[in-house]
Amino acid sequence: MDSRSTEKRNPDEQNVALPTAAWLAALAALAGAGPRRLRVLLADRQPRAAWELVMRGGTKGQAHALGRGGAEMLSRWAADAQEFDVAAFWDDTMQRGIGAFWFGSAAFPEALVHDPEPPAILFHRGDPDVIAGPRVAIVGTRKCTRYGHDIARAFARDLSLAGVGVVSGLALGIDAAAHHGAIDSGGAPPIAVVANGLDSVYPASNRLLWEDVARTGVVLSEGPIGTQPERWRFPARNRIVAALSDVVLVVESHVRGGSMHTVAEAERRGVPVMAVPGPIHSPSAEGTNALLRDGCAPACGVDDVLIELGLTAAAQRSSSELRLEPGGLAGDVLATMGWQPAAAEQLLVGVRCSPAELAGALDVLRSTGWVIESEGWFERVARGESSCDH
């Protein structure tokens, strides 16, 4: 009986009850509808009206505003829109635990309200209320070194502990390290902005991290469910990362790359950019070092970032940093290793000991958390009291 009555219900009647977000989600789901094209469709119109206009094939003005191929795009969208079930799409979105706020809604993040290019709609998974208080974006290369990885993680951990929300893009490398650090600290919840729809995970290897961020913080996306991580979506995502943040911190970056785009977006918005200096020989630090050369503020410690945010330097140190460095052969091994990964051969020659002695020292260092072995290399991961970050 019930099912029959549902079948009989007029679709239009059903759609009357749909929230604004549902119409916006449908508009955003149109193929190739990026932030700029959505603004054209939504100019001076309510989302529902805009959708109905799309179904009718749009206006000449819109075709002109969309630029080259605008008319074809509108006719393609009209065909797609007539097939599209807005209510079912919105139902699906809700059922996946995905919420949304749109430009003009009360919940819309304040940082984005005055943005030159605000997203028309922003989907979220997790707790959207965590977008409050000071925020720092930690961005950098996907192909990071251990140095960059450790720094991103340590900065994120200490910033979170100081109550600063860490914003990043959930990509591999620096992004992932930053989210890991923020989650580990148990401090301010992590905030992620991704380029694809919130129903899937990209890159897939970040699934566990993705779920952790959604559980403890929030994952945001401009794209509705089903959105693929197309190339053009990443720069668009970067603009939101920059817009949401009070400071953009670049940990490691090649001369070209997504993080440099985030820096450009931050500069457009007057958001301060800071960079962590890297080794001058390292290709993965060329971008950050170039930023520093161009006058960007260096971040040599968490306190530098906190001061830039106008907060007092009060970062907590993890217990490992208060330990005394080991002495004896283990100390020599640590000193020979420095902060670069080292193969056993290097250590053997540098310390001038037998393989058995080296094995003993490395085992002690490894079991006490000073050194890890990664892909055949031994790397120092913990700081001691005798060395200082700033």
């Binding site: 070194t145 290897s205 058995a356 085992d363 055949g376």
Partner: protein, 513 residues
Amino acid sequence: MLATVSSASLSGAQGWPVGVEVHVSGGIPSFSIVGLPDTSCREARDRVRAALLSCDADWPMQRITVNLSPTGVPAGGAGLDLAIALGILVASDQLKPRCIEGIGALAELGLDGTLRPVPGVLPLVDVIATDTVVVARPNFLEADLVADGQVRAVRSLRELIDVLVNDQPWPAPPPPPEAGDEPQYPDLADVRGQHFARFALEVAAAGSHHLLFVGPPGGGKSMLARRLPGLLPELDARQSLEVSRIHSAAGELLPRNGFIQRPPFRSPHHGASSVSLIGGGTASMRPGELSLASGGVLFLDEMGEFAPSALDALRQPLEDGVVRVARAHGAATFPAEVLLVGAMNPCPCGGAGSPGGCRCSQSARHRYHQRVSGPLLDRFDIRVTVQRPSALELLGVDPGESSGDVFTRVAAARSLAASRGVRANGKLSPTQLEEFAPLSAGARSVLERALSDQQLSARGLHRVRSVARTIADLAGDLAELTAEHVQTALMLRTQPLAAGRPGARLYRKASHG
């Protein structure tokens, strides 16, 4: 009339006795071979006919039937030519039956009647039970190895007929070579620097532990690997016979002075198919590179470039020490007692040999690492990262230790292993390890920690223990294993290839730390 001559045919590396029965009778002139002959055997008719005519013998214009017994076993190879020719001569009354009494024949015939050598003569002669076996002169030395004084070599069918008919003395055998030509392996003294890799090489040689070198191109991985056979002891009599047999069956040249005594070194190109590695083939069961390296070193250079299926085919033979190849027309068992040495770059661009030097994307590296499967990687007891030696070391005049010095220690360690009833410590079973590799309290705690850190699997635990036993033997510590021995074994067993999905490892650390 009927005549029977003994010969043999090859299946895999194994000889099978074949009785060649020739029947010549009245009827329409014809020639047929029965008893599952292969193609080269079928073609014997034309060769034998021409050879007989070249030797002024007659080709009987009668009905000739050749039967290869046992008839159920496929027989093949041109090595049966001589036996067929002798059979025809007797069956057509050109030779008295008593002339070929106690004579076996094993040679291919040329159209002019010369005797040509056949591959695998060593296992073949071994199974012919007659008092005398006639082979081609180039085969003499090899054949004489297994059948002392039983083998005769002649140049041609004419010469043989003269000996058999006129009771002339057998022609003198070819003289033994003056000097051996066993391969001389390069010396370890040529390698500059690489202290750690040398140490790994020594442990691998002493314990017969499979060894993996990972390092940038030009780091000296191949150079080191090629010096490994020079550190291995000579083969014992049983191994020597087995290895020589395999090489003979594969048609490889044996050393001129006799058996193969130095451990072989095989380095197949990375284009090798799995059949060429483990053996097989359609027409005849040819032993693969794995078996040709048996008793010595199988070196897989550029291991990441081999077909993953070819690499994985090695897994089970490495465990069992033999490889059983089964095909529709038969099965063969070859030895596979190799010391496997692999060498590969850390990533496709090779730049990951130094920190931050890699230009490959994360997924490209991951794909490259995945070409070596986890189970195969697990079989390498020793995995070391090789770096390019520094300029100072390369140009320094200080030569490294020579192979001879290292060999002395290796031989001592091997004799300790022999006292435990195995050839090398790498062959110790878990039960034997309990007996021969007792752990001190310190060693136990090091292993417990490695296990709880998931640094080691259960199989890995045994392997680490046997490597630690080798390290202790090399150092002359015969008592229980100390913490230092186990720590050194663990250091030799790094994880040079990222296992699992990229990022997974980092994540695991985050959730536990």
